[in-house]
């Protein structure tokens, strides 16, 4: 379930990236790539687990759903931290120049 939630988030953020005029300012590309990276990794993990062990391809449980939501939250938190670091670095560069 966390794989599906992350994949949907990757698709949604990519759509926002293409539609938004503020994509460069808010580094929406970075946000998309974070979720796509996780989606692709979990896709490989699920395929190999399905081939080796069989069973269900997707885990549909409350636990997995909650994990999916927490992973998405942490994805947004890491993007926010990245934006803050970028802003700080830009300020330092501007102060050095002046």
């Amino acid at each position: 379930m966390y794989f599906i939630i992350t994949a949907f988030t990757a698709i949604a953020t990519t759509t926002i990236f293409y539609v938004s005029s503020q994509r460069t300012k808010y580094k929406l590309g970075t946000l998309c790539l974070i979720f796509w990276g996780a989606t692709l990794m979990w896709f490989v993990d699920h395929v190999i687990a399905y081939i080796n062990e069989g069973g269900e391809f997707l885990e549909m449980s409350f636990d997995a759903t909650l994990l999916g939501l927490i992973v998405v939250l942490w994805g947004f938190i890491s993007w926010g931290i990245f934006l803050l670091i970028e802003k700080f670095q830009q300020k330092v560069k501007t102060n050095c120049k002046s």
Partner: protein, 133 residues
């Protein structure tokens, strides 16, 4: 178990390569005359490598969250719960080799496809602008 270790290893290597490439591109730009050579790419390699870097680090970080959730990573040594016994360690290394390496290769292949699509799109855009002028 600890499959994200392989993408992290690749991410470290890509980060180093990206820094070197960005330095080289900066030096080339400052020495070059205006305009783009026919053999040059439309998007800098530093930028392209940053896409791969973001996918690897971002994906590995979120996978680490999943491992923490399932209790496979702890915040005290040896940090990975599979390091407690030899048989589990062997299983862990096998998973890193099989699953982790597959993840790294798959993401790199997808990145290469993205690079080709992006370069083609930029080339068409540039041709349209030249024709319009």
């Amino acid at each position: 178990m600890a499959c994200f270790v392989a993408p992290v290893a690749e991410a470290i290597v890509v980060s180093v390569i990206k820094k070197v490439v960005e330095k080289k591109e900066k030096n080339i730009k400052s020495n070059q005359k205006e305009g783009r050579k026919a053999t040059e790419s439309y998007i800098s390699w530093g930028r392209k490598l940053s896409w791969l870097n973001t996918m690897l680090w971002g994906g590995a970080f979120l996978l680490m969250i999943e491992h923490i959730w399932y209790g496979e990573i702890v915040f005290y040594p040896p940090f990975l719960t599979e390091m407690n016994s030899t048989s589990e360690m062997i299983q862990m290394f096998h998973e890193i080799a099989q699953v982790g390496t597959s993840m790294s290769i798959f993401i790199t292949v997808v990145w290469a496809v993205i690079v080709v699509i992006a370069e083609t799109a930029m080339k068409h855009k540039s041709t349209k602008i030249i024709k319009a002028n």
